[in-house]
């Protein structure tokens, strides 16, 4: 009897071991599913990291299929490379900076199956449209007042035009002046002779959506950007003789003291910001700057908490002028005098110079996902 009992117990033990191994197999199958999810998440994380690296490197970081980027995420490595497809309708330089390119990211991550201890991989292909971010507000008129704290007058042969200056259809006609409120629009209409305001749209319009925010944030970021040129008396003296950007290289310029352009500068491109206590005077009576006898800035001119543009010559602003206050709670009133031969001309092509100038400084891309294959 004892022998029989012993034999039975031994057989039971062997069967129990068999059951245990089968239960382990069931659990391993569930664990493999969890590893698959983890591998998937790592591949997506790798794609996100890749976009950040592209931004930080201004596009110089470019791992390719034969030399992928290998990185460890959460203990396991991933492999990633991307393909870049230029826009099918590229703009001429420098506007090509704003072209929308297509980025196709190939990410691979690995996991090991518990059941067979076999290495499995997870492949992810995700495609994005990459475009440079500039945060330059859309030009809605030749001259916009993003504040109601101003007075305005005009004299001489000055004029403001919202009409398309280029080939037909290139730009939409816009108002000559836009204000935030109807009261301000009425004030402008009263104080400015309608002959000075040229527009097939309307001379003066009010836009309740007009706001100085987020332009103030854009200005704050550009002010601290390494490529931005700060023009002040300490660095440049009263007479600024540097450049204000070129057609191929529009720039960002901050005028923070009284400055005269006397260095023969006849053209500027990009974004020009005149800040508190800053005033820009264009003195055309000197010998040095008389090449064409006029000065043209192409892009966006922003007057923040200050307006003083004294043009004895024939200054022209192609693009748009924006007047605003950083802090609307302050009481300062800006006295806007449009005098001499100043001409402000709305131009949607000049808007692109402002966009390129801002994009080059911000070095930030927007990624819009097109599709994902996993």
């Amino acid at each position: 009897m004892l022998i029989l009992s012993t034999g039975a117990i031994i057989i039971l033990g062997i069967m129990q071991v068999g059951i245990h191994s089968q239960r382990s197999a069931i659990v391993q199958k569930s664990a493999t599913s969890a590893y698959e999810v983890q591998a998937r998440n790592k591949a997506y994380t790798a794609a996100q990291l890749a976009m950040e690296r592209i931004n930080e490197s201004a596009g110089t970081w470019y791992p390719k299929k034969d030399s992928p980027w290998i990185e460890a995420i959460d203990g396991d490595s991933i492999s990633l490379y991307y393909k870049l497809f230029q826009s099918s309708d590229p703009e001429p330089y420098p506007f090509s900076y704003l072209d929308e390119d297509t980025v196709e990211i190939y990410a691979k991550s690995w996991y090991r199956t518990s059941a067979k201890n076999k290495k499995e991989d997870f492949d992810l292909i995700t495609t994005y449209i990459k475009s440079a971010m500039h945060f330059v507000p859309e030009f809605k008129s030749a001259m916009s007042f993003a504040t109601d704290d101003f007075t305005i007058s005009a004299s001489g042969s000055s004029s403001i035009s919202g009409n398309n200056p280029n080939a037909p259809g290139e730009c939409e006609d816009r108002p000559a002046i836009a204000t935030m409120s109807e009261n301000a629009a009425n004030m402008v209409s009263t104080n400015i002779d309608g002959d000075r305001l040229i527009s097939d749209s309307t001379g003066v319009a009010y836009d309740p959506d007009l706001s100085y925010q987020p332009v103030d944030q854009l200005i704050a970021r550009l002010r601290n950007s390494p490529g931005t040129r700060i023009i002040n008396e300490e660095a440049d003296g009263i007479n600024y003789k540097g450049d204000l950007g070129t057609e191929d290289n529009p720039g960002v310029f901050f005028i923070e003291d009284d400055t005269k352009l006397t260095g023969g500068i006849s053209e500027g491109y990009g974004i020009l910001v005149v800040r508190s206590y800053g005033a820009l005077a264009y003195d055309s009576s000197g010998v040095e700057m008389d090449i064409a006898g006029n000065f043209t800035f192409n892009g966006l001119v922003i007057f923040e908490d200050a307006y003083a543009l004294d043009g004895k010559g024939t200054p022209t602003i192609n693009g748009s002028v924006l007047v605003g206050k950083k802090d609307e709670t302050t009481n300062n009133i800006m006295d806007v005098e449009i005098s001499g031969n100043l001409h402000i001309q709305y131009d949607c092509l000049a808007e692109k110079y402002a966009q390129v100038a801002a994009a080059k400084e911000l070095m930030q891309n927007r990624y819009k996902r097109l599709s994902t294959y996993e």
Partner: protein, 199 residues
């Protein structure tokens, strides 16, 4: 009369009964676990195909398809995708027939599940006894959209949940008098196909 021998035989009898009972239980448990393992393997074969297909809904090279679905029902899902990332978009249909039992199926609860790609149909006869598809228009929502999904609501779908049950081909009854006990394995997953995400 040797009472010692009689008592020892009685004890031995109890012991044998106990051993036989335990042996039977262990044997039954062994069968149950083995059958579960087999059905899990069958389930894995189907779920791997589902996991390959569903996340690719609406995918095409460098674009998301405008028309992603053809039909979205609780037992049928028909969608479009460039499944192999080649040049062409295929129509993929998963369909469950709750009223039709496969020929030669030993389990009367088994039904037919098919996967069709551009008219090329494959029957997945692995003992599928239930297959339900639910659609959600919000991430993490607890209430599914009513089915069949109207064509005008296709673009609202952001998550798809699939629940599937497989049963063994044979009964596994503890007692001879029992009947109809089949080993179940259930699989459920909610997918969030990336190409259904509102950008």
């Amino acid at each position: 009369m040797n009472f010692g021998i009689i008592i020892s035989y009685v004890i031995a009898g109890f012991l044998m009964l106990t051993i036989l009972t335990v042996s039977y239980n262990v044997g039954y448990s062994n069968q149950e676990v083995a059958t579960t393992n087999i059905k899990q393997t069958h389930s894995l074969a189907i779920t791997q195909i589902l996991i390959n297909d569903i996340p690719k809904i609406g995918y095409d090279k460098k674009a998301v398809l405008t028309t992603k679905f053809e039909k979205a029902d609780s037992v049928e899902l028909s969608f479009f995708s460039n499944l192999d990332n080649s040049g062409s978009v295929e129509k993929i249909t998963w369909k469950y027939y709750p009223q039709i039992t496969p020929e030669h199926a030993k389990n009367p609860h088994a039904r037919i599940l098919t996967r069709t790609i551009d008219g090329d149909e494959t029957a997945l006869n692995a003992g599928v006894t239930a297959f339900t598809i639910r659609y959600y228009d919000n991430y993490g929502a607890s209430t599914p959209m009513p089915t069949p999904i109207n064509t005008s609501n296709f673009d609202d779908i952001v998550q798809i949940e699939i629940e599937m049950e497989l049963q063994s081909d044979y009964e596994l009854n503890y007692r001879v008098s029992d009947s109809g006990n089949y080993v179940n394995t259930i699989w459920k997953k909610r997918f969030s196909p990336v190409n259904l995400r509102p950008n």
